[in-house]
Symmetry: C2
Subunit: 269 residues, 2 copies
Amino acid sequence: MAGQHLLVPRLEGVSREQFMQHYYPQRKPLVLEGIDLGPCTSKWTVDYLSQVGGNKEVKIHVAAVAQMDFISKNFVYRTLPFDQLVQRAAEKKHKEFFISEDEKYYLRSLGEDPRKVMDNFLIQVTGKKRVVLFSPRDAQYLYLKGTKSEVLNIDNPDLAKYPLFSKARRYECSLEAGDVLFIPALWFHNVISEEFGVGVNIFWKHLPSECYDKTDTYGNKDPTAASRAAQILDRALKTLAELPEEYRDFYARRMVVHIQDKAYSKNFE
Amino acid sequence: MAGQHLLVPRLEGVSREQFMQHYYPQRKPLVLEGIDLGPCTSKWTVDYLSQVGGNKEVKIHVAAVAQMDFISKNFVYRTLPFDQLVQRAAEKKHKEFFISEDEKYYLRSLGEDPRKVMDNFLIQVTGKKRVVLFSPRDAQYLYLKGTKSEVLNIDNPDLAKYPLFSKARRYECSLEAGDVLFIPALWFHNVISEEFGVGVNIFWKHLPSECYDKTDTYGNKDPTAASRAAQILDRALKTLAELPEEYRDFYARRMVVHIQDKAYSKNFE
């Protein structure tokens, strides 16, 4: 039983005003085509990047497969000079390699976690990516471990192990050079690079600035109200833990019903 | 699709020690037979009760059907002298009546709510009762409104309206004069008197005395740790309410997963 498959809508020639007034408030992923990104889409070739980037050493993720797994960590960290990395990443088969001749490389310029509480434009400057997104509403079907889904093989999921995953609605898009994908805060995304390319992510705060943790350099901490609520909940659970198991279970279930009643959205799909 | 039907086990000649050491800790309903209840089971006839009870006025529940509904309140309160009540309650058809010739009467000597956080012996002194019980673990299938189930017609439930009710495991027993039913704290029970009779309930505290609210005369308040946890949870939800709906929903779902993970029992069925 496969889940619902949906395409991320594509829009060409949307102006800043149209986006801000009409599309942005809908809080749904969207591919914008034909945005003027300047000369980078044609200029950032392998040769150009190797030349301009130079031979400064960079730390990279190296994995045997395209789907990097940030839970079991199916990758190793290695170091390469930037220009060599670019050359290697652009090859189909590698003469020199760390783990296998078709290993994949990933250079991330900032922290590990996807930015989860900020809005995001993923700008596909060069190369191709396939991006699959899941709504925060479907988090309950994603078998989250922390903020990441345990379901790694989203194209052929183990439904015996992850039966609810079939309920998650899958939003998919293919990004080509020049495409800009809007990823609203809280949306889960799974990215596969289909060929060598450069992506630039622009993150910005959706909520008023005071909603965020000021020490949150990478923008992946929960809004402060959510962290405080989680801390308060932990106090409630500590109190509940004073009771024997059967009572604790019973009242925990009552708490869940109360949260569902008071805090779940009723009016958005 | 009917739920699982189970019989409440019956045990004859269980000693106090056997009950306390072996059966009580299992926290499951149980019918004890052959307990020495003294002469009441034969002595408390309609005539004896009328005579001994006298004509003091008592407030009673009067309903057209045996299944009294404490949510929609399908009964009226009326007053009768105790001896007349006993006479009337023992009739099949009533010559004098309040609402119908086969109306049912119920005299309860204490508050309305079932004692839900105390352990309970329901002693069937005379008459017959059918009792259906549901485990606190199945609370999620009972469509609770406060502490009571909205599913009143448990023998022929409206499964279109209450689909989850079919998952609730139904424990049933018939009590006859002399039977003693152990109802552990938190178990839901639905009682139908099949003929005129007298039941005596004995409630006692299962948890150490300091776990209960000292102002709780009737023993139906939640243990203090559970009330405090619920209050703390309300503070958490108030904090969460500072966030816009999509974030509130998302983090509320995370809180639910956290409660399920931390406070639900994993090892009891």
